[in-house]
Amino acid sequence: MADKPEILSGLAEIVEEVAGIEKAEVSAEKSFVDDLDIDSLSMVEIAVQAEDKFGVKIPDDQLAELKTVGDAVDYIAKNR
């Protein structure tokens, strides 16, 4: 089972690929919308890729609750 730094790193790779944001910018305290300027459709693409990568389900209503990168890491760690 991957620990949180590993999940963060994997998630950052997905964010970089989907939204073109450098991996180093994707840190736990960043807000997807306000800091990283990621729109709702890109969030869906990130969620879909994260589901594949981490073997976790991230339904749309849950996705809306994941405001920061850290929220997403915690959710993945808890639900995988």
Binding site: D39, S40, L41, V44, E45, A47, V48, D60
Partner: protein
């Protein structure tokens, strides 16, 4: 005594003989849309990839557009209207349920007494129609089938709803499908099709205002994950591999869905130089008309050539989906 029934002889299969399309002259830009709705050009281009769309402004009816597109397809096929024996009219925007669009359109085109029926599989309608046509031909029930995808979505929009008014548009496209004389000339592959009725609520016409409504984010997720497997299945059914596909023409729903699906196909072996339809940019989402419109426009600009192996996949309300590989005539 139970009667023994006679069936017609089967044929090798179907092939495309020609296609054609028509759009309203009236161009509606993103700035035009933003004049009445709280949106802007950049937002629309980033979310759906549309720059402009065509909306009927001269009173043309759905059957008017279908007839124009059908006439162009018949002319392109080289057949006389009298050689067409079946008309399939795919649409989800008929103004009234009765009479159907197919028989009227056939009459306008001078096609005498064909089998004529409407088909509602929404944005998958053209591929459903093509699949049905190919089956009728293979089974010997029809020889030459006119498949039309025509939509006047502007009649079914709430022009104050920015989640739909920016996306949908009007237009019609059609193809003539004929009988392949031998196995080597079969040009319409087996259809990979299906539906997901449990998700019907995701794209509906709301009874209170007769306007289209969709759960955009949920549809986006479904399309970006479920369409590529249908496309891959269509390739497999045709006995091909993704690398064989020259041109990919998915339903023009959203440029980001198109790009996401193309990316998944390339991850499975589709070529980098596979040409991918992006007709949505100038045409908007025209539901069942979007695939034949894209085919016609790509042929006009040289990105689709005779003999190309073309992957089609439609998906939308129902939810419904269908795809097949065809050879460009």
């Amino acid at each position: 005594m139970t009667a023994r029934l006679t069936l017609p002889p089967t044929t090798p299969g179907a092939r495309l003989l020609g296609f054609g399309s028509v759009q309203p002259e009236n161009v509606v830009t993103n700035d035009d849309v933003a004049a009445t709705i709280d949106t802007n050009d950049q937002w629309i281009r980033e979310r759906v990839g549309i720059r402009s769309r065509r909306i009927v402004a001269d009173g043309a009816s759905l059957v008017d557009m279908a007839s124009d597109a059908g006439a162009r397809a018949v002319k392109d096929s080289g057949l006389a209207p009298s050689e067409i024996d079946t008309v399939i009219f795919a649409s989800c925007t008929m103004p009234t349920p009765i009479p159907n669009g197919a028989a009227q359109t056939a009459e306008r085109l001078g096609i005498p007494a064909p089998a004529a029926f409407d088909l509602n599989a929404a944005c998958a309608g053209f591929c459903y129609g093509l699949g049905g046509a190919a089956g009728l031909i293979r089974g010997g029930s029809s020889r030459n089938v006119l498949v039309i995808g025509a939509e006047k979505l502007s009649d079914w929009l709430d022009w104050t709803d920015r989640s739909t008014a920016i996306i949908f548009a009007d237009g019609a496209g059609a193809a003539v499908v004929g009988t392949a004389p031998d196995e080597e000339s079969v040009g319409v592959g087996p259809v990979a099709w299906g539906s997901a009725g449990e998700l019907a609520h995701m794209i509906i016409v709301k009874p209170e205002n007769n306007a289209l409504h969709q759960e955009g984010q949920a549809v986006f997720r479904w399309a970006t994950t479920k369409v590529a497997p249908v496309a891959l299945r269509a390739i497999e059914l045709a006995g091909l591999t993704p690398a064989d596909i020259d041109v990919f023409v998915p339903h023009q729903a959203n440029l980001r869905i198109i790009e996401a699906v193309a990316k998944r196909l390339r991850a499975k072996g589709a070529r980098e130089d596979m040409r991918v339809a992006d007709d949505i940019v100038e045409s908007g989402n025209t539901s069942s008309a979007s695939i034949p419109l894209a085919l016609d426009h790509m042929r006009a600009d040289g990105r689709l050539r005779s003999g190309d192996t073309v992957l089609l996949v439609g998906f939308g309300a129902g939810l419904s989906y269908a795809g097949q590989v065809v050879v460009c005539p």
